[in-house]
Amino acid sequence: MGLEQLQRAVLEVIQQPLTDSEGMRKRTLDGKPVKKIVDAIIKPNERLTSFERLEIYNRVYWFRLLSSLADDYPGLRAVIGQRNFDKLLVAYLRDCPSESFTLRNLGSRLEPWLRDHPEFAPRRHPIAMDMVRLEWADIEAFDGKAEPALRPEDLSAGAGPDLRLKLQPYIQLLDLRYPVDDLLLGVRKDDEDTEFASNVFQERRKHKRVQAVAKLKPAEIYLVVHRVDYTVYFRRIDREEFLILSALRQGKPLGKAIEIAFRKSSIARQERASSVQAWFQHWAALGWFCRAEKKTKNH
Protein backbone atom coordinates (compact mmCIF):
# COMPACT_ATOMS: atom_id res chain seq x y z
CA MET A 1 0.00 0.00 0.00
CA GLY A 2 1.45 3.35 -1.06
CA LEU A 3 1.67 6.40 1.18
CA GLU A 4 -1.29 8.24 -0.35
CA GLN A 5 -3.54 5.17 -0.31
CA LEU A 6 -2.64 4.43 3.32
CA GLN A 7 -3.28 8.00 4.46
CA ARG A 8 -6.63 8.17 2.65
CA ALA A 9 -7.77 4.91 4.28
CA VAL A 10 -6.70 6.05 7.77
CA LEU A 11 -8.28 9.50 7.48
CA GLU A 12 -11.51 8.00 6.24
CA VAL A 13 -11.74 5.89 9.41
CA ILE A 14 -10.66 8.71 11.73
CA GLN A 15 -13.31 11.03 10.31
CA GLN A 16 -16.14 8.53 10.82
CA PRO A 17 -18.51 9.87 13.51
CA LEU A 18 -18.21 8.20 16.93
CA THR A 19 -20.85 5.89 18.38
CA ASP A 20 -23.23 7.14 21.09
CA SER A 21 -20.79 5.79 23.68
CA GLU A 22 -17.96 7.77 22.02
CA GLY A 23 -16.22 4.76 20.53
CA MET A 24 -15.17 3.94 16.99
CA ARG A 25 -17.88 2.55 14.72
CA LYS A 26 -17.67 -1.11 13.74
CA ARG A 27 -18.78 -0.26 10.20
CA THR A 28 -18.10 2.79 8.07
CA LEU A 29 -21.10 4.89 7.04
CA ASP A 30 -21.13 3.06 3.71
CA GLY A 31 -21.14 -0.31 5.42
CA LYS A 32 -17.51 -1.49 5.22
CA PRO A 33 -16.20 -3.40 8.27
CA VAL A 34 -13.77 -1.08 10.09
CA LYS A 35 -11.90 -3.91 11.81
CA LYS A 36 -10.93 -5.45 8.48
CA ILE A 37 -9.64 -2.09 7.17
CA VAL A 38 -7.76 -1.29 10.35
CA ASP A 39 -6.25 -4.74 10.89
CA ALA A 40 -4.69 -4.54 7.43
CA ILE A 41 -3.00 -1.21 8.23
CA ILE A 42 -2.30 -0.91 11.96
CA LYS A 43 -0.12 -3.21 14.08
CA PRO A 44 -1.64 -4.38 17.36
CA ASN A 45 0.51 -4.46 20.50
CA GLU A 46 0.32 -6.49 23.71
CA ARG A 47 -2.20 -4.09 25.27
CA LEU A 48 -4.27 -2.74 22.38
CA THR A 49 -5.80 -4.19 19.24
CA SER A 50 -5.33 -2.42 15.91
CA PHE A 51 -8.92 -1.18 16.25
CA GLU A 52 -8.28 0.27 19.72
CA ARG A 53 -5.09 2.00 18.60
CA LEU A 54 -6.79 3.83 15.74
CA GLU A 55 -9.79 4.53 17.94
CA ILE A 56 -7.57 6.85 19.98
CA TYR A 57 -7.12 9.05 16.89
CA ASN A 58 -10.80 8.77 15.96
CA ARG A 59 -11.81 10.07 19.39
CA VAL A 60 -9.18 12.82 19.47
CA TYR A 61 -10.33 14.03 16.03
CA TRP A 62 -13.94 14.44 17.10
CA PHE A 63 -13.21 15.82 20.57
CA ARG A 64 -10.85 18.45 19.14
CA LEU A 65 -13.11 19.60 16.30
CA LEU A 66 -16.34 19.57 18.31
CA SER A 67 -14.68 21.49 21.11
CA SER A 68 -13.36 24.08 18.65
CA LEU A 69 -16.80 24.64 17.12
CA ALA A 70 -18.44 24.72 20.55
CA ASP A 71 -16.04 27.52 21.53
CA ASP A 72 -16.94 29.46 18.38
CA TYR A 73 -20.73 29.00 18.54
CA PRO A 74 -22.00 29.29 22.13
CA GLY A 75 -24.93 31.36 20.87
CA LEU A 76 -26.10 28.66 18.48
CA ARG A 77 -25.92 26.12 21.31
CA ALA A 78 -28.10 28.40 23.44
CA VAL A 79 -30.64 28.76 20.65
CA ILE A 80 -31.09 25.10 19.73
CA GLY A 81 -30.09 23.38 22.98
CA GLN A 82 -27.16 21.11 23.78
CA ARG A 83 -28.60 17.89 22.31
CA ASN A 84 -29.53 19.42 18.94
CA PHE A 85 -26.25 21.33 18.91
CA ASP A 86 -24.22 18.12 19.31
CA LYS A 87 -26.13 16.43 16.48
CA LEU A 88 -25.82 19.47 14.25
CA LEU A 89 -22.03 19.74 14.68
CA VAL A 90 -21.44 16.08 13.85
CA ALA A 91 -23.65 16.30 10.75
CA TYR A 92 -21.96 19.54 9.65
CA LEU A 93 -18.44 18.14 10.04
CA ARG A 94 -19.45 14.96 8.23
CA ASP A 95 -20.73 17.01 5.28
CA CYS A 96 -18.10 19.76 5.49
CA PRO A 97 -14.82 18.36 6.83
CA SER A 98 -12.13 20.96 7.41
CA GLU A 99 -10.48 22.21 4.25
CA SER A 100 -8.25 24.74 5.97
CA PHE A 101 -4.95 24.42 7.82
CA THR A 102 -6.43 26.41 10.70
CA LEU A 103 -9.28 25.56 13.05
CA ARG A 104 -10.22 29.23 12.88
CA ASN A 105 -12.00 28.50 9.59
CA LEU A 106 -13.87 25.43 10.78
CA GLY A 107 -17.24 27.22 10.85
CA SER A 108 -16.79 29.05 7.56
CA ARG A 109 -19.42 26.91 5.76
CA LEU A 110 -21.87 26.57 8.64
CA GLU A 111 -24.25 29.32 7.47
CA PRO A 112 -24.88 27.91 3.95
CA TRP A 113 -24.97 24.37 5.35
CA LEU A 114 -27.56 25.25 8.00
CA ARG A 115 -29.66 27.09 5.42
CA ASP A 116 -29.94 23.78 3.56
CA HIS A 117 -30.52 21.73 6.74
CA PRO A 118 -33.29 23.38 8.79
CA GLU A 119 -34.06 19.99 10.36
CA PHE A 120 -31.05 20.46 12.67
CA ALA A 121 -32.60 23.55 14.27
CA PRO A 122 -36.17 22.37 14.84
CA ARG A 123 -38.68 25.20 15.42
CA ARG A 124 -35.87 27.77 15.71
CA HIS A 125 -34.26 27.75 12.31
CA PRO A 126 -34.60 31.51 11.58
CA ILE A 127 -33.09 32.47 14.96
CA ALA A 128 -30.36 29.85 14.55
CA MET A 129 -29.50 31.23 11.10
CA ASP A 130 -29.20 34.76 12.47
CA MET A 131 -27.05 33.55 15.37
CA VAL A 132 -24.69 31.63 13.08
CA ARG A 133 -24.29 34.69 10.85
CA LEU A 134 -23.51 36.86 13.89
CA GLU A 135 -21.03 34.42 15.40
CA TRP A 136 -19.15 34.00 12.12
CA ALA A 137 -19.11 37.79 11.62
CA ASP A 138 -17.60 38.06 15.09
CA ILE A 139 -14.74 35.73 14.07
CA GLU A 140 -14.15 37.65 10.85
CA ALA A 141 -14.17 41.03 12.59
CA PHE A 142 -11.78 39.83 15.31
CA ASP A 143 -8.77 39.20 13.07
CA GLY A 144 -9.76 40.78 9.76
CA LYS A 145 -7.42 43.16 8.00
CA ALA A 146 -7.31 46.85 8.97
CA GLU A 147 -5.98 49.47 6.59
CA PRO A 148 -4.92 53.04 7.48
CA ALA A 149 -8.17 54.81 8.33
CA LEU A 150 -9.33 58.00 6.65
CA ARG A 151 -9.70 60.87 9.10
CA PRO A 152 -12.91 62.97 9.19
CA GLU A 153 -11.03 65.85 7.47
CA ASP A 154 -9.94 63.49 4.64
CA LEU A 155 -13.61 62.75 4.04
CA SER A 156 -14.84 66.34 3.97
CA ALA A 157 -11.99 67.39 1.65
CA GLY A 158 -12.94 64.95 -1.10
CA ALA A 159 -16.69 64.66 -0.52
CA GLY A 160 -18.91 64.62 -3.58
CA PRO A 161 -21.44 62.31 -5.24
CA ASP A 162 -18.71 60.45 -7.18
CA LEU A 163 -16.56 59.74 -4.13
CA ARG A 164 -15.94 56.06 -3.58
CA LEU A 165 -15.22 55.06 -0.06
CA LYS A 166 -13.88 51.73 1.02
CA LEU A 167 -14.98 50.09 4.25
CA GLN A 168 -12.34 48.55 6.49
CA PRO A 169 -12.05 44.88 5.51
CA TYR A 170 -12.70 43.74 9.10
CA ILE A 171 -16.13 45.41 9.24
CA GLN A 172 -19.10 43.05 8.94
CA LEU A 173 -22.61 44.26 8.02
CA LEU A 174 -25.62 42.17 9.02
CA ASP A 175 -29.35 42.48 8.52
CA LEU A 176 -31.03 40.15 10.99
CA ARG A 177 -34.61 39.15 11.67
CA TYR A 178 -34.10 38.57 15.38
CA PRO A 179 -32.23 40.63 17.99
CA VAL A 180 -29.67 37.90 18.55
CA ASP A 181 -26.95 40.38 19.47
CA ASP A 182 -28.39 40.88 22.96
CA LEU A 183 -28.91 37.15 23.29
CA LEU A 184 -25.30 36.38 22.39
CA LEU A 185 -23.94 38.98 24.81
CA GLY A 186 -26.15 37.46 27.51
CA VAL A 187 -24.92 33.96 26.72
CA ARG A 188 -21.30 35.07 26.92
CA LYS A 189 -21.85 36.80 30.24
CA ASP A 190 -23.58 33.69 31.58
CA ASP A 191 -20.69 31.53 30.43
CA GLU A 192 -18.18 33.80 32.18
CA ASP A 193 -20.20 33.74 35.42
CA THR A 194 -20.82 30.01 35.16
CA GLU A 195 -17.11 29.23 35.32
CA PHE A 196 -17.23 30.06 39.00
CA ALA A 197 -20.77 28.87 39.78
CA SER A 198 -22.24 25.82 41.47
CA ASN A 199 -24.17 23.14 39.55
CA VAL A 200 -27.51 24.37 40.92
CA PHE A 201 -26.69 27.90 39.81
CA GLN A 202 -25.66 26.62 36.37
CA GLU A 203 -28.97 24.78 35.99
CA ARG A 204 -30.88 27.96 36.85
CA ARG A 205 -28.86 29.90 34.30
CA LYS A 206 -29.57 27.26 31.66
CA HIS A 207 -33.28 27.41 32.40
CA LYS A 208 -33.21 31.21 32.20
CA ARG A 209 -31.41 31.05 28.86
CA VAL A 210 -33.96 28.62 27.39
CA GLN A 211 -36.72 31.01 28.48
CA ALA A 212 -34.90 33.97 26.91
CA VAL A 213 -34.66 32.18 23.56
CA ALA A 214 -38.31 31.10 23.71
CA LYS A 215 -39.39 34.69 24.37
CA LEU A 216 -37.29 36.19 21.60
CA LYS A 217 -39.68 37.95 19.20
CA PRO A 218 -38.85 38.76 15.59
CA ALA A 219 -37.48 42.29 15.26
CA GLU A 220 -35.53 43.37 12.21
CA ILE A 221 -32.19 44.80 13.24
CA TYR A 222 -29.19 46.11 11.34
CA LEU A 223 -25.80 45.52 12.83
CA VAL A 224 -22.20 46.53 12.27
CA VAL A 225 -19.74 44.09 13.79
CA HIS A 226 -16.61 46.19 14.20
CA ARG A 227 -13.73 46.64 16.57
CA VAL A 228 -12.28 49.37 18.70
CA ASP A 229 -8.84 48.93 20.26
CA TYR A 230 -8.82 45.31 19.08
CA THR A 231 -12.06 44.43 20.87
CA VAL A 232 -15.09 43.41 18.77
CA TYR A 233 -18.37 45.27 19.31
CA PHE A 234 -21.88 44.91 17.89
CA ARG A 235 -23.36 48.26 16.93
CA ARG A 236 -27.00 48.56 15.94
CA ILE A 237 -27.64 51.04 13.13
CA ASP A 238 -30.64 52.34 11.20
CA ARG A 239 -31.83 50.68 8.02
CA GLU A 240 -30.64 53.68 5.98
CA GLU A 241 -27.19 53.48 7.51
CA PHE A 242 -27.03 49.80 6.66
CA LEU A 243 -28.02 50.47 3.06
CA ILE A 244 -25.43 53.24 2.61
CA LEU A 245 -22.63 51.14 4.11
CA SER A 246 -23.65 48.07 2.08
CA ALA A 247 -23.70 50.09 -1.15
CA LEU A 248 -20.29 51.58 -0.40
CA ARG A 249 -18.92 48.09 0.27
CA GLN A 250 -20.24 47.03 -3.14
CA GLY A 251 -18.19 49.86 -4.67
CA LYS A 252 -21.03 52.23 -5.43
CA PRO A 253 -20.25 55.98 -5.36
CA LEU A 254 -21.40 58.06 -2.43
CA GLY A 255 -24.28 59.77 -4.25
CA LYS A 256 -25.72 56.48 -5.45
CA ALA A 257 -25.33 54.90 -2.01
CA ILE A 258 -27.32 57.71 -0.38
CA GLU A 259 -29.98 57.56 -3.09
CA ILE A 260 -30.46 53.82 -2.52
CA ALA A 261 -30.68 54.31 1.25
CA PHE A 262 -33.53 56.83 1.13
CA ARG A 263 -35.69 55.22 -1.60
CA LYS A 264 -38.17 53.79 0.88
CA SER A 265 -37.09 55.71 3.95
CA SER A 266 -39.41 56.89 6.68
CA ILE A 267 -36.93 59.60 7.71
CA ALA A 268 -38.42 63.01 6.97
CA ARG A 269 -36.85 64.75 3.96
CA GLN A 270 -35.73 67.76 5.98
CA GLU A 271 -33.85 65.53 8.43
CA ARG A 272 -31.98 63.43 5.87
CA ALA A 273 -29.02 65.74 5.23
CA SER A 274 -28.29 66.22 8.91
CA SER A 275 -28.66 62.47 9.54
CA VAL A 276 -26.20 61.62 6.78
CA GLN A 277 -23.74 64.19 8.07
CA ALA A 278 -23.95 62.83 11.62
CA TRP A 279 -23.58 59.22 10.46
CA PHE A 280 -20.50 59.93 8.37
CA GLN A 281 -18.87 61.89 11.15
CA HIS A 282 -19.45 59.04 13.51
CA TRP A 283 -18.29 56.35 11.10
CA ALA A 284 -15.16 58.31 10.26
CA ALA A 285 -14.42 58.86 13.94
CA LEU A 286 -14.61 55.09 14.41
CA GLY A 287 -12.14 54.62 11.55
CA TRP A 288 -14.51 52.60 9.40
CA PHE A 289 -13.27 54.03 6.07
CA CYS A 290 -10.06 53.56 4.22
CA ARG A 291 -8.94 54.86 0.84
CA ALA A 292 -10.45 53.13 -2.19
CA GLU A 293 -8.50 52.52 -5.38
CA LYS A 294 -9.46 55.12 -8.00
CA LYS A 295 -11.61 53.75 -10.81
CA THR A 296 -10.99 55.09 -14.29
CA LYS A 297 -13.73 55.31 -16.93
CA ASN A 298 -13.23 53.70 -20.30
CA HIS A 299 -14.11 56.14 -23.08
Partner: protein, 303 residues
Amino acid sequence: MPANRFNGYSEYGVGIGLRIPHYHHIFEKKPVVDWFEIISENFMVDGGRPLYVLDQILDRYRVVQHGVSMYFGSAEALNREHLRRLKTLVKRTKTPWLTDHLCWGSVDGRYSHDLLPMPYTLEAARKTAQKIREARDFLEVPICVENVSSYAEFHVSEMTEWEFLTEVVEEADCGILLDVNNIYVSSRNHSFDPLQYLNNVPQERVAQIHIAGHSKFKKYILDTHDHAPIDPVWKLYGRAIELLGPTATLLEWDDLIPSFDEVHHEALKARKFLQPKSPVQSAAASVNQFAKSGAYMAEKAGI
Protein backbone atom coordinates in the same frame (compact mmCIF):
# COMPACT_ATOMS: atom_id res chain seq x y z
CA MET B 1 24.40 26.64 23.93
CA PRO B 2 25.35 24.81 20.72
CA ALA B 3 24.69 27.26 17.96
CA ASN B 4 24.37 25.49 14.65
CA ARG B 5 23.11 26.18 11.17
CA PHE B 6 19.72 24.70 12.04
CA ASN B 7 18.97 27.27 14.71
CA GLY B 8 20.46 30.21 12.86
CA TYR B 9 23.66 29.98 14.95
CA SER B 10 21.72 31.38 17.85
CA GLU B 11 22.19 30.69 21.53
CA TYR B 12 18.77 30.69 23.17
CA GLY B 13 18.19 29.50 26.71
CA VAL B 14 14.96 28.30 28.31
CA GLY B 15 11.69 29.49 26.84
CA ILE B 16 7.99 28.89 27.28
CA GLY B 17 5.06 28.82 24.91
CA LEU B 18 3.22 32.13 24.52
CA ARG B 19 -0.36 31.43 25.64
CA ILE B 20 -3.43 33.70 25.91
CA PRO B 21 -4.03 33.26 29.68
CA HIS B 22 -0.57 34.77 30.29
CA TYR B 23 -0.90 37.87 28.09
CA HIS B 24 -2.06 40.15 30.88
CA HIS B 25 0.76 39.07 33.21
CA ILE B 26 3.41 39.44 30.50
CA PHE B 27 2.32 42.95 29.51
CA GLU B 28 1.86 44.14 33.05
CA LYS B 29 4.87 42.55 34.79
CA LYS B 30 7.24 42.34 31.80
CA PRO B 31 8.97 39.24 33.18
CA VAL B 32 12.46 38.31 32.04
CA VAL B 33 12.10 35.30 29.73
CA ASP B 34 14.84 33.96 27.46
CA TRP B 35 12.41 33.46 24.58
CA PHE B 36 8.84 32.65 23.64
CA GLU B 37 7.64 30.02 21.20
CA ILE B 38 4.50 30.99 19.29
CA ILE B 39 2.12 28.68 17.47
CA SER B 40 2.44 30.03 13.93
CA GLU B 41 -1.16 29.25 12.95
CA ASN B 42 -2.50 31.48 15.74
CA PHE B 43 -0.87 34.49 14.10
CA MET B 44 -1.33 33.70 10.39
CA VAL B 45 -4.23 36.14 10.25
CA ASP B 46 -4.78 39.44 8.49
CA GLY B 47 -5.01 41.74 11.51
CA GLY B 48 -6.67 42.44 14.83
CA ARG B 49 -5.61 41.56 18.35
CA PRO B 50 -3.41 38.53 17.50
CA LEU B 51 -0.99 40.63 15.46
CA TYR B 52 -1.16 43.54 17.89
CA VAL B 53 -0.19 41.22 20.75
CA LEU B 54 2.55 39.63 18.67
CA ASP B 55 4.08 43.01 17.84
CA GLN B 56 4.14 43.92 21.53
CA ILE B 57 5.90 40.64 22.31
CA LEU B 58 8.38 41.10 19.46
CA ASP B 59 9.32 44.54 20.79
CA ARG B 60 10.57 42.99 24.01
CA TYR B 61 11.30 39.29 23.53
CA ARG B 62 12.93 36.78 21.21
CA VAL B 63 10.36 34.63 19.44
CA VAL B 64 10.60 31.32 17.60
CA GLN B 65 7.78 30.02 15.41
CA HIS B 66 6.37 26.54 15.90
CA GLY B 67 3.77 25.18 13.48
CA VAL B 68 1.18 22.45 13.84
CA SER B 69 -0.27 22.00 10.37
CA MET B 70 2.40 22.02 7.69
CA TYR B 71 2.08 18.23 7.48
CA PHE B 72 5.38 17.54 5.73
CA GLY B 73 4.47 13.84 5.81
CA SER B 74 1.16 14.14 3.95
CA ALA B 75 1.37 12.60 0.49
CA GLU B 76 -0.30 15.65 -1.06
CA ALA B 77 1.57 18.79 -2.08
CA LEU B 78 2.23 21.66 0.32
CA ASN B 79 -0.64 24.12 0.72
CA ARG B 80 0.53 27.27 -1.12
CA GLU B 81 -1.84 29.56 0.79
CA HIS B 82 -0.45 28.19 4.05
CA LEU B 83 3.12 28.79 2.87
CA ARG B 84 2.33 32.33 1.72
CA ARG B 85 0.79 33.25 5.05
CA LEU B 86 3.63 31.57 6.92
CA LYS B 87 6.22 33.54 4.99
CA THR B 88 4.45 36.79 5.83
CA LEU B 89 4.66 35.81 9.49
CA VAL B 90 8.32 34.76 9.22
CA LYS B 91 9.14 38.21 7.88
CA ARG B 92 7.28 39.79 10.79
CA THR B 93 8.86 37.70 13.57
CA LYS B 94 12.30 37.23 11.99
CA THR B 95 12.31 33.82 13.62
CA PRO B 96 15.87 32.44 13.47
CA TRP B 97 14.50 28.96 12.79
CA LEU B 98 11.09 27.48 12.24
CA THR B 99 9.70 24.19 13.49
CA ASP B 100 6.84 21.85 12.63
CA HIS B 101 6.14 18.18 13.09
CA LEU B 102 7.34 15.05 11.37
CA CYS B 103 3.84 13.78 10.73
CA TRP B 104 0.96 13.86 8.30
CA GLY B 105 -2.57 15.21 8.76
CA SER B 106 -4.33 15.94 5.49
CA VAL B 107 -5.52 14.04 2.44
CA ASP B 108 -7.11 15.50 -0.70
CA GLY B 109 -7.25 18.93 0.98
CA ARG B 110 -9.16 17.57 3.98
CA TYR B 111 -7.56 18.28 7.35
CA SER B 112 -7.50 16.14 10.50
CA HIS B 113 -5.99 18.89 12.70
CA ASP B 114 -3.99 16.14 14.37
CA LEU B 115 -0.37 15.04 14.26
CA LEU B 116 -0.78 11.62 12.68
CA PRO B 117 2.12 9.14 12.79
CA MET B 118 4.13 8.32 9.70
CA PRO B 119 4.56 4.88 8.19
CA TYR B 120 8.33 4.43 8.47
CA THR B 121 9.09 3.63 4.84
CA LEU B 122 11.72 4.90 2.43
CA GLU B 123 8.97 6.20 0.12
CA ALA B 124 7.49 8.27 2.95
CA ALA B 125 10.92 9.53 4.06
CA ARG B 126 11.82 10.73 0.57
CA LYS B 127 8.49 12.46 -0.08
CA THR B 128 8.62 14.10 3.32
CA ALA B 129 12.19 15.29 2.84
CA GLN B 130 11.30 16.74 -0.54
CA LYS B 131 8.47 18.77 0.99
CA ILE B 132 10.71 20.05 3.78
CA ARG B 133 13.21 21.22 1.17
CA GLU B 134 10.46 22.95 -0.83
CA ALA B 135 9.18 24.72 2.27
CA ARG B 136 12.66 25.84 3.32
CA ASP B 137 13.46 27.17 -0.15
CA PHE B 138 10.22 29.16 -0.18
CA LEU B 139 10.38 30.40 3.41
CA GLU B 140 14.12 31.12 3.39
CA VAL B 141 14.58 30.10 7.02
CA PRO B 142 16.12 26.98 8.61
CA ILE B 143 13.50 24.31 9.29
CA CYS B 144 13.57 21.77 12.12
CA VAL B 145 11.16 18.85 12.38
CA GLU B 146 9.79 17.55 15.65
CA ASN B 147 9.27 13.88 16.52
CA VAL B 148 5.63 13.35 17.57
CA SER B 149 3.97 11.22 20.22
CA SER B 150 2.19 8.29 18.64
CA TYR B 151 -0.36 5.67 19.58
CA ALA B 152 -0.32 3.47 16.48
CA GLU B 153 2.24 1.78 14.23
CA PHE B 154 1.86 0.62 10.65
CA HIS B 155 2.44 -2.86 9.21
CA VAL B 156 4.23 -1.30 6.24
CA SER B 157 6.96 0.30 8.38
CA GLU B 158 10.43 -0.78 7.31
CA MET B 159 12.50 0.86 10.05
CA THR B 160 12.41 2.27 13.58
CA GLU B 161 11.17 5.80 14.27
CA TRP B 162 14.68 7.11 14.94
CA GLU B 163 15.94 5.56 11.70
CA PHE B 164 13.06 7.24 9.86
CA LEU B 165 13.80 10.58 11.53
CA THR B 166 17.45 10.25 10.54
CA GLU B 167 16.55 9.31 6.97
CA VAL B 168 14.28 12.34 6.61
CA VAL B 169 16.57 14.96 8.15
CA GLU B 170 19.65 13.72 6.27
CA GLU B 171 17.75 13.68 2.97
CA ALA B 172 16.18 17.10 3.61
CA ASP B 173 19.34 18.46 5.25
CA CYS B 174 17.22 20.02 7.97
CA GLY B 175 17.38 20.28 11.75
CA ILE B 176 15.58 18.48 14.55
CA LEU B 177 13.34 19.78 17.30
CA LEU B 178 13.78 16.91 19.72
CA ASP B 179 10.76 16.43 21.96
CA VAL B 180 11.95 14.26 24.85
CA ASN B 181 8.43 13.92 26.24
CA ASN B 182 7.28 12.57 22.88
CA ILE B 183 10.14 10.06 22.90
CA TYR B 184 9.05 8.96 26.37
CA VAL B 185 5.34 8.73 25.43
CA SER B 186 6.02 6.75 22.25
CA SER B 187 8.53 4.49 24.02
CA ARG B 188 5.82 3.48 26.49
CA ASN B 189 3.16 3.08 23.80
CA HIS B 190 5.39 1.03 21.49
CA SER B 191 7.66 -0.67 24.05
CA PHE B 192 11.08 0.58 22.99
CA ASP B 193 13.97 1.94 25.01
CA PRO B 194 13.90 5.76 24.97
CA LEU B 195 17.65 5.86 25.50
CA GLN B 196 18.17 3.84 22.35
CA TYR B 197 16.15 6.47 20.48
CA LEU B 198 18.16 9.28 22.07
CA ASN B 199 21.50 7.63 21.36
CA ASN B 200 20.63 7.21 17.68
CA VAL B 201 19.40 10.71 16.88
CA PRO B 202 21.77 12.63 14.57
CA GLN B 203 22.90 14.89 17.38
CA GLU B 204 24.61 17.55 15.27
CA ARG B 205 21.19 18.41 13.77
CA VAL B 206 19.35 19.05 17.03
CA ALA B 207 18.54 22.75 17.22
CA GLN B 208 15.96 22.80 20.01
CA ILE B 209 14.34 20.59 22.64
CA HIS B 210 10.74 20.37 23.86
CA ILE B 211 9.68 19.14 27.26
CA ALA B 212 6.07 18.69 28.41
CA GLY B 213 3.66 16.75 30.56
CA HIS B 214 1.49 13.85 29.49
CA SER B 215 -1.42 11.78 30.83
CA LYS B 216 -1.27 8.13 31.71
CA PHE B 217 -4.23 5.89 30.95
CA LYS B 218 -4.66 2.19 31.65
CA LYS B 219 -3.32 0.91 28.34
CA TYR B 220 -1.52 3.89 26.82
CA ILE B 221 -0.07 7.34 27.44
CA LEU B 222 -1.48 10.46 25.79
CA ASP B 223 0.53 13.59 25.02
CA THR B 224 -1.75 16.14 26.69
CA HIS B 225 0.54 19.03 27.74
CA ASP B 226 -1.76 19.64 30.70
CA HIS B 227 0.69 19.43 33.57
CA ALA B 228 4.38 19.52 34.41
CA PRO B 229 6.85 16.98 32.99
CA ILE B 230 7.25 13.91 35.20
CA ASP B 231 10.65 12.92 36.63
CA PRO B 232 11.44 10.24 34.01
CA VAL B 233 11.01 12.89 31.30
CA TRP B 234 13.34 15.27 33.14
CA LYS B 235 15.86 12.42 33.44
CA LEU B 236 15.60 11.76 29.73
CA TYR B 237 16.08 15.47 29.15
CA GLY B 238 19.17 15.40 31.34
CA ARG B 239 20.58 12.56 29.28
CA ALA B 240 19.81 14.47 26.07
CA ILE B 241 21.75 17.48 27.34
CA GLU B 242 24.69 15.23 28.28
CA LEU B 243 24.74 13.98 24.69
CA LEU B 244 24.00 17.24 22.89
CA GLY B 245 25.41 19.91 25.13
CA PRO B 246 23.26 22.84 26.27
CA THR B 247 20.45 23.29 23.76
CA ALA B 248 17.62 25.80 23.42
CA THR B 249 14.79 24.31 25.48
CA LEU B 250 11.08 25.02 25.63
CA LEU B 251 8.38 23.85 28.03
CA GLU B 252 5.00 23.25 26.38
CA TRP B 253 1.89 23.69 28.54
CA ASP B 254 -1.30 23.92 26.48
CA ASP B 255 -4.20 22.79 28.63
CA LEU B 256 -5.20 23.43 32.27
CA ILE B 257 -2.63 26.20 32.06
CA PRO B 258 -1.51 27.47 35.49
CA SER B 259 -0.14 30.94 36.25
CA PHE B 260 2.68 32.38 34.22
CA ASP B 261 5.03 32.13 37.21
CA GLU B 262 4.26 28.45 37.71
CA VAL B 263 4.88 27.60 34.05
CA HIS B 264 8.06 29.68 33.91
CA HIS B 265 9.34 28.24 37.19
CA GLU B 266 8.79 24.72 35.85
CA ALA B 267 10.61 25.56 32.61
CA LEU B 268 13.58 27.02 34.47
CA LYS B 269 14.19 23.62 36.10
CA ALA B 270 15.91 22.88 32.79
CA ARG B 271 18.72 25.23 33.79
CA LYS B 272 20.17 22.81 36.32
CA PHE B 273 20.81 20.42 33.42
CA LEU B 274 21.97 23.13 31.02
CA GLN B 275 24.62 24.60 33.30
CA PRO B 276 27.67 22.32 33.29
CA LYS B 277 28.53 21.22 36.81
CA SER B 278 32.29 21.73 36.49
CA PRO B 279 34.84 23.09 34.01
CA VAL B 280 35.89 19.50 33.26
CA GLN B 281 32.32 18.51 32.32
CA SER B 282 31.98 21.67 30.27
CA ALA B 283 35.14 20.86 28.35
CA ALA B 284 34.01 17.26 27.88
CA ALA B 285 30.69 18.40 26.39
CA SER B 286 32.49 20.73 23.98
CA VAL B 287 34.91 18.01 22.91
CA ASN B 288 31.98 15.63 22.43
CA GLN B 289 30.18 18.15 20.21
CA PHE B 290 33.36 18.97 18.28
CA ALA B 291 34.07 15.31 17.67
CA LYS B 292 30.53 14.70 16.43
CA SER B 293 30.71 17.67 14.07
CA GLY B 294 34.07 16.47 12.76
CA ALA B 295 32.79 12.95 12.22
CA TYR B 296 29.73 14.29 10.45
CA MET B 297 31.74 16.56 8.14
CA ALA B 298 34.17 13.75 7.39
CA GLU B 299 31.30 11.43 6.53
CA LYS B 300 29.72 14.04 4.26
CA ALA B 301 33.05 14.64 2.56
CA GLY B 302 33.43 10.91 1.98
CA ILE B 303 36.60 10.72 4.11
